[in-house]
């Protein structure tokens, strides 16, 4: 595994992605998602909304890192709020 040059932050990052996927699977088995339409122009399932949130979180982080001097935590906080909004009303 040493060739993968792991660091603690990236390990935490990938573990949380894996945990999210596992959590979504369990949630889906407990109560299957019903496709519905929120404020997005398309109807989405729970998984779609998670994907959209994660992808936009990536771009939010890139924007903050590249073009502002704000702390990375600001980007993460915005992303988490965005994730919750998406999952609830998206």
């Amino acid at each position: 595994m040493s060739w993968m040059v792991w660091t603690l932050p990236t390990a935490i990052f990938f573990s949380s992605i894996a945990a999210m996927l596992a959590g979504m699977t369990v949630w889906e088995l407990r109560s299957p998602s019903i496709e519905r339409k929120g404020f997005l122009p398309i109807s989405t399932t729970r998984g779609d909304r998670l994907f959209i949130s994660l992808l936009s979180a990536a771009f939010i982080h890139l924007g903050v890192v590249g073009f502002t001097s704000l702390s990375l935590l600001v980007a993460s906080a915005v992303s988490v709020i965005w994730l919750l909004v998406m999952m609830r009303w998206g």
């Binding site: 040493s2 060739w3 993968m4 040059v5 792991w6 660091t7 932050p9 990236t10 990052f13 990938f14 398309i42 994907f51 992808l55 990536a58 771009f59 890139l62 890192v65 590249g66 073009f67 990375l72």
Partner: protein, 295 residues
């Protein structure tokens, strides 16, 4: 919406594929992410840099310029290849040996390996021995792809159009062939003009294949590497250096693994975003069509 007990064991059949993808894509991608936050000098000499590479890459004016050129290139070839492909597909014979002959002729450029396409055009456009380069010079045009950025751009776009329009044409041709004859009969009864047939029968029926064609051509052109690399080497200057070539120079030429890993991730995210938008559009259109058919 039925209440039958569903058997999901078929998903297990996906496992071998998952293992394969893990080895060929997921694990390498994770490694790239790990590299992107470190300065790796050797197996035991590495330093955590956090987001430094990302902010360097996002503010690198060369990369920003390459990104702009990349977008311009992709949009230009789409604007040429899609209409041209539709036009060629409309002109292609519909049956008999002519149809097969034209199909084979048209497929030819698609069978040529990418770096060979670059070499073909490199020789073709040379001023001293190349047919196109020599002819243009004879009629008094100062055509030189190694000195003139405009000529280099023109040639790369011409080369891409030559290489990939056949794909669009073939997709459109298959789309056109799947339109039932009854539509054309109805149009003839209505004395519809050729334009009306195209506008209200052929074009709507082609929408699906066109979305696929746009997606494929966009992805291909956004990742283009071998052809311009062989033809112009990114020059003159950096006027035809596209994203993948900038990346390769950084990663392989200069061994800047950290910055190029950060850049790869940004590149990957852009491609992921565009692919997702296209994919959603396609799925959305099919859903709309199904719901219309059901109603």
């Amino acid at each position: 919406m039925n209440n039958k007990v569903q058997n999901n064991r078929a998903w297990l059949l996906v496992l071998p594929m998952l293992v394969l993808v893990a080895f060929s894509a997921i694990i390498p991608l994770m490694t790239v992410v790990n590299y992107s936050v470190q300065d790796v000098l050797g197996p035991n000499a590495r330093f955590f840099t956090g987001t430094e590479w990302f902010s360097t890459m996002l503010n690198d004016s060369n990369l920003q310029a390459a990104f702009g050129r990349q977008i311009l290139f992709s949009l230009t070839i789409l604007a040429i290849q899609i209409p041209l492909g539709i036009g060629i597909a409309l002109l292609m014979p519909k049956k008999g040996w002519q149809a097969s002959a034209v199909l084979i002729l048209i497929t030819m450029p698609l069978l040529v390996p990418w770096n060979v396409v670059g070499s073909i055009w490199q020789i073709f456009t040379r001023g001293d021995i190349g047919l196109m380069g020599w002819s243009l010079r004879q009629i008094g045009i100062d055509y030189n792809i190694t000195r003139n950025a405009g000529d280099a751009w023109f040639t790369i776009i011409l080369m891409d159009v030559w290489h990939w329009t056949p794909l669009v044409a073939m997709l459109c041709y298959s789309g056109l062939r799947s339109i039932p004859e009854a539509y054309y009969q109805a149009a003839r009864i209505d004395r519809a003009s050729k334009w009306a047939v195209f506008r209200y029968i052929q074009l709507p029926k082609l929408t699906n294949v066109l979305v696929i064609a746009v997606l494929l051509r966009f992805m291909h052109s956004f990742m283009i590497y071998a052809e311009p690399f062989v033809l112009t080497g990114g020059g003159p200057g950096s006027s035809t250096t596209f994203l993948s070539q900038s990346l390769a120079t950084m990663a392989i030429g200069q061994q800047d693994l950290g910055p190029s890993a950060a850049f790869s991730i940004i590149y990957f995210l852009v491609i992921l975003l565009v692919s997702w938008i296209f994919y959603t559009t396609i799925m959305h259109m099919q859903k709309d069509k199904n719901s219309q058919g059901g109603a």
